[in-house]
Amino acid sequence: MIQIKNIQKGFSGKSVIEGVSSEFETGKCNLIIGASGSGKTVLMKCLVGLITPDSGEIIYDGENFSLMSQDQLKIMRRKIGMLFQGSALFDSMTVEKNIFFPLDMFSNETKGEKQKRVDEVLDRVNLNGAHKKFPAEISGGMKKRVGIARAIILNPKYLFCDEPNSGLDPQTSLVIDKLIKEITIEYNITTVINTHDMNSVMEIGDRIMYMYQGKKEWEGTNKEIIFSKSEKLNSFIFASEFLQDAKDMRMLESKGKIDQNRDMEKLMGE
């Protein structure tokens, strides 16, 4: 579990994150959602130590990340895997070498054992046969999968994904979401995902934190989000008329006041 307590961060006198506190549970997909510029990427960078917060505490399973020395941080970071928005693959290396790299750097296993592990992980993300390709030769979805494979190669306890669906088509987005969800459960890791993809929220969001202008505005599950009273959250999530209609239907349906088939026909007719 990761706990954050009263995180504050500002740049050049402008506050970007204001007193955000939350908990990210193990074995679950914890989503941070919010509009562009709401501070979710800065918060994630604070969580992984790429940015030092001005104040507040970040606690990884009882260990205070904020108070760790450089050496302790190095060890801690080996328990962290991260999937970047642009995948951040090393473009001078093949797919296989990208995944080999953390193993070569930190593992004392034999070459055969490392190769076996790389093959297993590539197989897990359905990338068999892409071993010798360079990042420039593969699609955006494949890059994300290579990024996930690299993030999990060292069996991390914590997985961070920054906008895993950005630039992907809806179908590929679902594949990536499903993969992240499965990996979270399979490896029993704490997964934190930054997204503004509503499919992800509904499909894999076990815990969701909504950020608005650097503050935590709402927190709950993907079941609860439909019934949220927060106007800011509602206008963010159900931004389009279509989604607003879908929400209304879901609410009526849950109250037993609607026949789904009949209403769908009505909606289609309109």
Binding site: V48, G49, L50, L73, K74, I75, M76, R77, R78, I80, G81, M82, F84, Q85, G86, A88, L89, F90, D91, F101, P102, D104, M105, F106, R150
Partner: protein, 245 residues
Amino acid sequence: MNIFTKLGQFLLMLKGMFTKPENFKIYWKELMHQCVELGIGSLGIVSIISVFIGAVSTLQTSYQFISPIIPRSVIAQIVRDSVILEFAPTITCIVLAGVVGSKISSELGNMRVSEQIDALEIMGINTKAYLILPKILAALITIPLLVVIAMALGIWGGRMIGDITNILPHEIYDKGLHETFVPYNVTFALTKAYSFAFIITAIPAYFGYNVRGGALEIGRASTTSVVTSCVMILLADYVLATILL
């Protein structure tokens, strides 16, 4: 950001490079890779420049020596000393500042912008030690060697053009090379080569590593790093000449 802030950041970057490597074997591999990239990769351009500089030096010195009192072998002495003292270390390194400097700066800048440096940091790797130190060490190993090669090729270029144009037969040229040779000049040239090698890798590394933004900023960082490196080379050249000669 003022110059003192930048200087402070630069010194902190240098300090940050010196930590225990996470895996010595990988660092060694990276060092060898950089030696090939920076050293072997620059051999072609250094060779061409050196031969032509030596050749042009012979032609121009000969053109200015019209007095029959001065022996022709003096031309070889002048070419030798000019090449060893100035052309081989300084001109070679100014060219390398463009070739190597822009490469380092844009490579690191691109890694920064595409979050590859962040990815390495997340893995628990000291990116300053892994990305910058091997480049500086590789330059300290290969650039003095390139300068020695540049000296030899520059002097050979002068000898060759003397023969081809019949301005200075190689017998006289060789005689001149052996006259009044001061071995300290080579030491001085190598001191310059080591200093310049540090400048043309550390400065572009600083600008590349600290890029913020996108493609435009990478280009700007590359240009700034080359300009700053060239100015620093000339400044260091003056300071070293004042102190050591």
